[in-house]
């Protein structure tokens, strides 16, 4: 019905060309890190092969023992991170609602307080008071990794343009619809950035869980340190680092995939 073509001849001031959304090279994103990690793992393996291993070293540096430690480590990290997500995201949503803004600083102080306890101390404390085992180590990991996800959830929701939220209510969305259709999708990248921090954090902290009898790659490192076997310590440390980088990579890929398009 409007007869003029949209942004027709006069439109030099207004370019209506399609602007391509910037997209990182998919191949580079997906494969660079795994390839580097694989090369590192092969190098580590070859290095260990050149060494004459004594009986102590042989007992731990085999696929059964290392596989077990790796699996235990993954369980510690996976379980704690999953629970962190389940607690921190809903809590972050609640804290970003205008009606509870007043108590937000209190909750924030509590979480920051929990964060400031050294996680080593927390794991040992839980082991001594609650008992030994993976379960209690996971509790400690949850507490120490809560903050990055919580604060990123709150930040991600609060940095959304106020006018945009008002536009959403203005066209008739209920509060829940504004949250689900506008706020949460737009906050996803920031929440996932917090999650990545939490994962890397937990992979490192979980090595301490060996002291609480929770197993994991920490066991390998501890054996190396106590028995004064450098090869074992190096292998344990390197595997932990590889795991951290790999999981971070997966989270990074997830971040790319889940990021709302159009931003």
């Amino acid at each position: 019905m409007l007869t003029t073509a949209p942004d027709a001849p006069l439109a030099s001031s207004e370019s209506s060309q399609i602007r391509r959304l910037p997209r990182e090279g998919t191949f580079r994103l997906l494969f660079t890190t795994p390839i580097v990690l694989l090369a590192g793992a092969v190098a580590l393996y070859l290095w260990v092969q050149t060494r004459e291993l004594d009986s102590v070293e042989q007992r731990i540096l085999n696929s059964t023992q290392l596989g077990l430690a790796l699996r235990q480590h993954l369980v510690l990290v996976g379980a704690s991170t999953a629970v962190v997500l389940l607690i921190a995201v809903p809590l972050g949503i609640v804290l970003s609602r205008p009606s509870v803004r007043r108590i937000a600083p209190i909750v924030n102080a509590l979480v920051v307080g929990a964060q400031s306890i050294p996680s080593f101390g927390l794991i040992v404390l839980f082991a001594l008071t609650l008992g030994f085992g993976a379960q209690y180590a996971i509790y400690a990991l949850i507490i120490s990794a809560l903050l990055p996800v919580l604060s990123n959830t709150v930040a991600g929701l609060e940095e959304i343009d106020l006018e945009l939220k008002e536009a959403a209510s203005g066209i008739g969305m209920t509060r829940g619809q504004v949250l689900r259709r506008v706020e949460l999708p737009l906050a996803v990248p920031v929440v996932l950035a917090g999650l990545r921090t939490a994962i890397v954090w937990n992979v490192g902290t979980a090595t301490v869980a060996a002291f609480a009898g929770a197993g994991g790659l920490g066991t390998v490192i501890t054996v190396g340190l106590i028995q004064n076997r450098d090869v074992v310590t190096v292998v344990g440390g390197m595997l932990t680092a590889f795991l951290a980088i790999l999981l971070d990579h997966f989270a990074r890929v997830a971040q790319e995939l889940l990021k709302p398009k159009g931003l």
């Binding site: 019905m1 409007l2 949209p6 207004e14 203005g170 159009g262």
Partner: protein, 382 residues
């Protein structure tokens, strides 16, 4: 004028933590199918006033009556689905494609997906965007003007009787803004929505408004009238200041030239290619060639000169400013007006111009055919 459609009755808004009300006992009636402009300095409460209509801001006291129904306590979410809302930049959701942005209200109203996609294309066509090209784009891939169009399409999708526009064209450059304004006016002539339009731009208010509410502090209405009458006769010092100097000159571009303003001046007919100034009779004589007026012969005591003129066509698009422009351009004391066929209808003498302005200030509102047409449409519908 048609019936009142939106009635704001003694609305007051005092924000928590403040003692001064942002809006103080405002009453305003908006008629069905008209564009009411809220214009005033920033911070005067005009946006707050508008947001009380769709209850984004809850009034502290007062009533809001829409279409005879008191909606002051109605469910705000449902109310808003029946009121189109456009803000600067369109307020588009950056993570949704154009089609999902336009469909947003329809989804809330639970339309079926086939009906929605049909309606989305219809709406994009309506605002002048080719659905095949724009449907799947993200807001980031659009220019400012295109975003604004999508914003209007979204607001219109559910065919709400009312639209609220909050500085919708504020974020685009002047050329695009003017085109969007023209298109919006053309669109409005077909859709006949009841529109409340907030702007801080007086020129925009004059151009777009059937009536303008000039708002001062605490949303007190300093004057509420048609643009022509406000310009010709500011109600008080505040309005005069707000309009700035020479408001009357702006009025000239709003007032149509009508046949009763015209007078008949002496004319001569000449052969093609032959103009003889000596044949002129009065101080100014219209020269007619082949039955069409082509210019003036003006006569001072000493010399007579021929002044070629491109006559104006008498009609709804010809305003006093055009006539005065012709006089100044040509250097003649009157403007020549013709009918559609190019035949001389009469001349507008300069002395008739101020009379027309005074006449407009005193009485009827000769803004344009818009209001009358809408009244006719409304009658037709009823």
């Amino acid at each position: 004028m048609t019936d009142t459609f939106i009635q704001l009755d003694n609305l007051t808004k005092t924000f928590p933590g403040t003692t001064e009300p942002a809006v103080d006992e405002l009453s305003l009636d908006v008629c069905e199918g008209e564009i009411v402009m809220l214009v005033g300095p920033s911070g005067c409460g005009k946006t707050t006033t508008m947001k009380m209509i769709n209850r984004l801001v809850e009034p502290t006291s007062g009533r809001i009556i829409i279409g005879g129904q008191d909606v002051t306590d109605a469910n705000p979410d449902e109310l808003r689905r029946s009121i189109g809302y456009v803000i600067q930049q369109g307020g588009l959701f950056p993570h949704m494609r154009v089609r999902d942005n336009v469909a947003a209200v329809l989804q809330l109203l639970k339309w079926s997906s086939t009906k929605i996609s049909q309606r989305v294309d219809e709406m994009l066509d309506l605002v002048g965007l080719d659905p095949a090209v724009y449907r799947d784009r993200y807001p980031k891939q659009l220019s400012g003007g295109e975003r604004q169009r999508v914003g209007v399409a979204r607001a219109l999708a559910a065919d709400p009787p009312i639209m609220l526009l909050d500085e919708p064209f504020g974020a685009v450059d002047p050329i695009v803004r003017e085109r969007l304004q023209d298109e919006f006016l053309r669109l409005q002539r077909e859709i006949c929505k009841t529109i409340v339009f907030v702007t801080h731009d007086l020129t925009e208010a004059i151009k777009m408004g059937d009536r303008i509410a000039i708002v001062r502090d605490h949303s007190a209405v300093a004057q509420f009238d048609t643009p022509a009458r406000i310009l010709a006769k500011p109600a008080n010092e505040f309005v005069r200041d707000f309009l700035g100097e020479n408001a009357e000159l702006r009025a000239l571009s709003l007032l149509e030239v009508t046949s009763d303003m015209l007078s008949t001046l002496p004319s001569i007919s000449v052969e093609p290619g032959e103009v003889d100034p000596a044949r002129a009779q009065g101080p100014a004589t219209v020269v007619i060639q082949d039955g069409r007026p082509v210019g003036w012969v003006t006569a001072d005591a000493s010399d007579r000169t021929f002044l070629p003129v491109e006559p104006l066509v008498l009609g709804p698009r010809t305003h006093l400013a055009d006539a005065v422009g012709q006089m100044v351009r040509v250097g003649a004391p009157a403007a020549i007006l013709v009918d559609e066929a190019g035949q001389l209808v009469g001349c507008l003498e300069f002395s008739a111009v101020p009379r027309a302005v005074v006449h407009a200030a005193a009485g009827s509102a000769p803004k344009s055919d818009r209001v009358d047409k809408k009244v006719a449409d409304a009658d037709h519908r009823a």
